[in-house]
Assembly symmetry: C2
Homo-oligomer: 340 residues x 2
């Protein structure tokens, strides 16, 4: 622990956008160090997403600094992917229980790396002391693809649309089981390769930005499945006022889960496990070949997993909105991650 | 404590911009309830400020919900005042140790009231559970007055400029003394009227937005004195690379402090007390009459308190940048509120 001031911390660890300002960040008129940041006006509507990670709630205290950085950014950029929007700027509210320069160095290095990878400028924030565990809130700002503000909403699913998901499922819950095995669970024989792949995708969720941007004007609704497949399908269903039926046998289960695991556990992880950061989206059937071409171009599998079947009657209970069929599939677990 | 979900909380307490959406918020294309918010493109550069308030650090646990709301917003809008910018939209990261519906109702009512007063739309955020005290981070977004991005910076003070301050000084430190008297301090006889005035300005700092906006193109540098007069004058001095001399006898001490208080205590509060939320600014001497007219029009006193005397040599120590003269004035206390 040292006696660095807030200004020292910002200058030493969080001015990387200022010091490496390339042409992509030329739009930053006032960066870190004034009362507020100012960036050049952009022509398309402004997109904003805020996410908070709390030590002891969203990650364990032993989590490495670089993983805190990559998860914080991954979660937020995944919201941008789900909107089909382009991230541009970010502010960070960082509350630290103490000043650990090794931690700050590792955290800031990874943060800078991801900012560069996704072309996001860190333009401001607030660094404060907190008595208990670390809290980090990122607010990412950016813009829609078009001047009219066209983006991917949750409320546009139409009867007859196909339901799609990107990547594979069950990764988030499986990684959590590897990191914090539940006491009553059966031993899980997971091979080394799968294990490192699962942990990597947990530590650094890869936001599906290119897919989301490619789906603007093609998909009718989209969401990232950070709360779990069923819970997030339910968000689309409720906001679009439709019913969704999912074909359990079509679900792209992550290959690392094809082991000695109990079938029911796998199903639970796939349907209700959060921390997935894939995109769940709906699209008219005549968009299938376009989506398949996009999937091929991005080398990111997209799988048709269901259908929007009918409009929801206003008095219908929430539990009726999404169901799963397929031998042995059970749609009990509608609820995903709840924040309280 | 109840079992409200995150969605219930947002719907019940934080959707006031959606439900009361008047023409001023017509620019909100996607509000609360999707992966991110989208607002209409604006023509002027984007201004962003983030501030965090932490229970036990920035306010005591017994603080009322409405005061948490007004201080959180006041602090952030004060940053906008110091930039001469116009706030428009806000996201909130709210981390709650438990769900107290009375607290949430009072908090949201005051938040909605201030949003309406300053024409700010709450467009999104993240509501999460935390194990210990409450944490609230607000990110306010808005725009500069002009298309070119003209705003009030900290780095524009020029040799020969006058130094000005709005309102009166010592309010923040005095209010803190009333709320949390230090053990070793002398008893302070503060009359009822002054007391309620001091506490009111602490609970709801009034951001000097109209003044800041009026000073764009007139003041050469500006800052809000949330860290204390000397510390914030030092920020202007260091960023402008100038020396500032302040006339102690010219400082507008708050009338509530003209009591039995020890002169040294008053000076300490005036020079180093934080939580002031007045604007400290510099301007060429030929702008004096314009500033006086603005002050009159806004019914907000602005006082000339010093001068920018010379350029700072690069190797000059920070402690040399700001000094106070005047019989009995002592500029020892350069440091204001430090965040660590």
């Amino acid at each position: 622990m040292t006696s660095l001031s807030e200004f020292d911390i910002i200058k030493r660890y969080f001015s990387f956008t200022e010091t490496s300002a390339g042409p992509s960040h030329a739009g930053t008129l006032v960066g870190i160090g004034d009362d507020a940041a100012v960036v050049a006006a952009h022509k398309n509507p402004l997109v904003v997403a805020t996410d908070t990670l709390i030590e002891g709630v969203h990650f364990p205290p032993e989590f490495l600094a670089k993983h805190v950085a990559s998860r914080a950014m991954g979660v937020n950029l995944s919201d941008f992917a789900a909107m089909g929007a382009t991230p541009r700027w970010m502010t960070m509210a960082l509350s630290l229980p103490h000043i650990d320069t090794d931690w700050l160095a590792a955290f800031s290095q990874r943060l800078a790396q991801i900012c560069q990878q996704y072309n996001v400028a860190l333009i401001g924030g607030d660094t404060t002391r907190i008595d208990h565990g670390l809290v980090i809130s990122l607010t990412v700002m950016g813009e829609t693809q078009t001047r009219s503000g066209l983006c991917l909403r949750r409320n546009g699913a139409q009867v007859g649309d196909d339901v799609w998901v990107s990547g594979s499922l069950g990764k988030g819950a499986a990684a959590l089981q590897l990191l914090m095995p539940s006491k009553n669970s059966m031993p899980w024989i997971c091979n080394k390769e799968s294990k490192s792949e699962l942990l990597a995708s947990f530590y650094m969720p890869e936001p599906r930005l290119a897919l989301g941007q490619g789906l603007v004007g093609i998909a009718s609704a989209a969401i990232d499945i950070s709360d779990g497949l069923m819970a997030d399908a339910n968000h689309i269903a409720m906001q679009s006022q439709v019913k969704i039926i999912i074909d359990g046998d079509a679900l792209p289960i992550h290959s690392g889960l094809e082991t000695n695991l109990n079938r029911q556990i796998v199903q639970q992880w796939v349907l209700s496990g959060g921390d997935e950061y894939e995109l769940l989206f709906t699209a008219p059937t005549d968009q299938s070949s376009t989506i398949e071409s996009l999937s091929l171009a991005l080398a990111l599998p997209c799988t048709k997993i269901g259908t929007v079947t009918e409009n929801l009657k206003e008095d219908k209970a929430e539990a009726d909105s999404v169901s799963v069929f397929g031998a042995g599939w059970d749609s009990q677990s509608l609820k995903g991650y709840t924040h309280f």
